[in-house]
């Protein structure tokens, strides 16, 4: 096997083992949180609301909630795992080795993606207790889930690289990711907003992720799907490049 592939599988194996070793912290809480969203927003409140784009409220928000779980968990896993390796200094095990920076990044984000997708799958299973979701196009469902998880794992890695203390790993999720997710069309369609706010909303990258993912289930979207895919690929390339630059310069990891 190619040396770099061995390096990658070693990191990916370690990251994945960690997720399943502490599954009570990594997999169960997000599944419970999303179940509460389904119960409160879907059943209790949703039953009192009118349909959106011809779908009942529960069917409309279910893809958004699944995507919210993918976003949060992909990000959280990478930032917490990378920061804890810095904190315990075992990042040095990797830095002293010949592992290329690109492989280090891919290894870490593989963990974020495994967790993001695993939680997304669990939440999808939970959603079956509340709603029968249509499947319009499985390809777009998987593509948007994959790309979103990839992008947010990369974003989490950047946060992990810069983080110097435990507080630093919760600032971005609290003050940036959560507001953007709530305003990212999880609970409403941006077509319901006035024109001005629709334009503003399009500056929020999460809109493209939620919208594209929802299109895979429902077959209707607010934004052109290919625009969404292009945006995600752009974010993936940009964030990967930023990660590469930071590791090459040794920012946050080398003296």
């Amino acid at each position: 096997m190619n040396r770099n592939l061995i390096c990658f599988t070693t990191i990916a194996r370690r990251e994945t083992t960690r997720i399943f070793r502490i599954w009570l912290q990594t997999l169960v809480p997000p599944a419970i949180t999303m179940t509460l969203y389904f119960i409160i927003f879907g059943s209790f409140i949703g039953s009192q609301l009118r349909d959106i784009k011809g779908y009942d409220y529960m069917s409309f928000i279910a893809p958004g909630l699944i995507m919210m779980a993918i976003i949060t968990n992909s990000y959280t896993n990478t930032v917490s795992s990378f920061f804890s390796t810095k904190f315990q200094r075992n990042i040095e095990e990797l830095l002293v080795s010949p592992t290329p920076n690109s492989v280090i990044i891919l290894g870490y984000i593989s963990g974020g993606m495994v967790r993001g997708m695993s939680v997304g799958f669990l939440v999808s299973l939970v959603s079956l207790f509340f709603v029968r979701l249509p499947l319009h196009n499985i390809f777009y469902i998987l593509l948007f889930a994959f790309l979103t998880s990839f992008v947010f794992s990369l974003a989490g890695m950047i946060n992990g690289i810069f983080a110097k203390k435990f507080d630093d790993i919760s600032i971005i999720p609290t003050f940036v990711i959560t507001p953007l997710t709530y305003l990212g069309g999880v609970f409403y369609s941006i077509s319901m907003l006035p024109d001005f706010w629709q334009t503003v909303s399009k500056a929020n990258p999460i809109i493209y992720m939620v919208d594209g993912f929802r299109y895979g289930f429902l077959g209707s979207s607010d934004i052109n799907i290919l625009t969404g895919v292009s945006m995600l690929i752009f974010f993936a390339v940009a964030l990967f490049s930023v990660n590469l630059y930071l590791l090459k310069k040794g920012i946050g990891v080398r003296s």
Partner: protein, 303 residues
């Protein structure tokens, strides 16, 4: 070709602290090289630069002829490092830690398992292979880091204070192991605070102080520079004072203990004869301090 060649190495940290001010040294293949110096002298910074944990400000580093600026990955494959502080995940199992390190060097898991077994057995950790690192004692954690540093069979092993906090018995066991590694052809660079350790193990010694190499020679030549040495004599009967002797300073520290500081020109035979002439019977004798320690202190204080 030297195992390690460092030329005009400089490092200034962002804080403005200049840790290295033009360090140059060569370590020959197969050498057991001691890098000594007081805290903050720059030893760990040098190791950090060689292993890529610290970005250098200037200078060149070559490992077996491979310039780290040109092909750091190739240079890293030749180096194994055992750092001063524990730097593994305490939640992972002992064998996983060692195997993962092998994986980072591109060694497939099957082979990594074989390598890890070899070194964990050698270092007495095989029985602990399935326990998490946090359950290990301090000495075991040190040995785990040595096993991890060796798992990819590096040609150059760098140990930064490997026996710090290790009890005497274990330390001696580790010394034997390091000597065995060196005799098998592996080049070893050791930094240590235990000068007894350096005197016992190393055949070449460099002393660094305030970011500069102030001495770099073989151990025998270095010890030859020691122009005086202090011995402690325990006497059978109490002694009030000792008559003077040329090139020797005597002092009676308590009733039955005499300290004698000898210049190079004087011999111990003359001291014994001198004491014997005064009917002083010596029961035992020892060095007041390690010879290298005396020399080290002398040089560093002079600086």
């Amino acid at each position: 070709m030297p195992a390690l060649s460092i030329s005009d190495l400089h490092k200034t940290y962002k804080s403005g602290l200049t840790a290295l001010k033009g360090v140059s040294l060569d370590v020959k293949q197969g050498e057991f090289f001691g890098l000594l110096g007081p805290n903050g002298a720059g030893k760990t910074t040098i190791i950090g630069i060689i292993t890529s944990l610290v970005n250098k400000t200037g200078g060149t580093v070559k490992v077996f002829g491979v310039d780290i600026d040109k092909d750091f990955a190739a240079a890293k494959r030749l180096i194994g490092v055992v750092p001063q502080e524990f730097n593994f995940s305490i939640f992972e199992k002992v064998q996983d830690i060692v195997c993962q390190q092998a994986g980072y060097y591109g060694i497939a898991r099957d082979e990594a398992l074989v390598h890890s077994e070899k070194y964990l057995k050698k270092l007495g950790l095989w029985d602990k292979r399935n326990v998490t690192a946090r359950e290990l004692s301090g000495g075991m954690k040190r040995r785990l880091m040595i096993a991890r540093g060796l798992v990819h069979d590096p040609k150059l092993l760098i140990l930064d204070e490997p026996t710090a906090g290790v009890d005497v018995e274990l330390r001696r066991g580790m010394w034997d192991f390091l000597v065995e590694l060196n005799q098998a052809g592996r080049t070893i660079i050791l930094t240590t605070h235990y000068l007894e350790e350096a005197e016992l193990l190393c055949n070449q010694i460099a002393i660094i102080s305030d970011g500069r190499i102030i001495e770099n020679t073989n151990k025998r030549d270095l010890l030859r520079k020691l122009d005086k040495e202090t011995f402690i004599f325990d006497t059978k009967a109490p002694v009030d004072n000792v008559l003077p002797l040329e090139h020797v300073i005597f002092s009676v520290t308590d009733g039955t203990t005499i300290e004698a500081t000898l210049n190079k020109e004087q011999s111990l035979n003359n001291v014994f004869k001198h004491l014997s002439d005064q009917n002083i019977i010596v029961e035992s004798m020892r060095n007041k301090s390690n010879r290298l320690e005396e020399l080290f202190l002398e040089m560093v204080v002079e600086e």
